[in-house]
Symmetry: C2
Subunit: 181 residues, 2 copies
């Protein structure tokens, strides 16, 4: 992604955070992580993040999804003897998010996937999260999620986050990105 696009997306992210009355400091606003997962289609596949804290023991982030934006299917694998993989709790703060994990497929799911990506989404057990609702995803469990029609803000509480180790169903995905000037 070009840095100009990243800045536009950061501005839009801040507008959503403001709507939800979530305060962020200027240095956080200037460093919002904009992830297009290397697919160059951030309208459909993307995620905006503010990492509040990430240390060896715990991690807390605010995740922002634009309307119908999708965080693609992935899992957090075991890392070593002391880390069986990242566990995370999603708490919806604003909007609505459709979360999918392994389990019996939900008939008529709320998520809408562009046709070209359909085969990259293999788990369809739906959990709908509205403000104040939350769900904990066990380590190494495949999952993906989509914002509703007005988008969503999700607080993520978790064990240590090591994004570069995430395993995506779509093997074209690159999680760690460098913004171009």
């Amino acid at each position: 992604m070009k840095i100009g696009q990243v800045k536009r997306i950061r501005k839009r992210t801040l507008e959503i955070l403001k709507k939800a009355h979530i305060a962020v400091r200027p240095h956080e606003a200037a460093n919002i992580e904009v992830a297009d997962f290397g697919l160059n289609d951030i309208k459909n596949i993307g995620l905006e993040l503010i990492v509040y804290e990430n240390n060896d023991r715990y991690c807390a982030k605010e995740l922002v999804l634009f309307p119908r934006q999708i965080c693609p299917e992935h899992r957090h694998p075991p890392m070593d003897e002391r880390n069986i993989g990242k566990q995370e709790t999603f708490r919806c703060r604003w909007g609505e998010v459709y979360l999918y994990v392994d389990g019996p497929a939900t008939q008529k799911p709320k998520a809408k996937i562009p046709k070209k990506y359909e085969e990259k989404f293999t788990v369809w057990h739906e959990i709908v999260l509205r403000p104040g609702e939350q769900y904990t995803i066990p380590p190494s469990t495949l999952h993906w999620f989509q914002g509703g029609d007005k988008g969503a803000i999700v607080s993520e509480f978790s064990s240590k986050s090591i994004d570069e180790s995430d395993i995506f169903t779509d093997t074209h995905i690159q999680r760690t990105l460098v913004y171009e000037q």
Copy 2:
């Protein structure tokens, strides 16, 4: 504390959360933890908590302080070889909070302590947190905090929480309470 008083305090806690646009579900509202630390003086010494998640790896809570309410001085000691004590990150969401940790004493601190408790507060290095500001308290570090003139809401992100092991400077304190009918 009598359950009637607890219910009144829960209602007041919900009013503050509503002001701050923080959504909680009915079962959370009905179970807000009201801690008077056994001192029966919750106007001065007390804390209201919603525990979103607490597992072996991480913990997330929302802390609510009424105007000038104080969470008394304490530390989270080492538990075992794998747990060197609870580490916690406080992120102010609403209002203003005055946090005190070990370190050079701040001249003219913002906190106000009722005279009868003065000797129970021994660390005076001040950190002021306004919405969007945060601070991480290392394990086993003495700390205490007070809400500002309109109170405060603080998101706490931490390693596992084991309240009953907390060590308070005021030895009269009981952290774990049963509400009376």
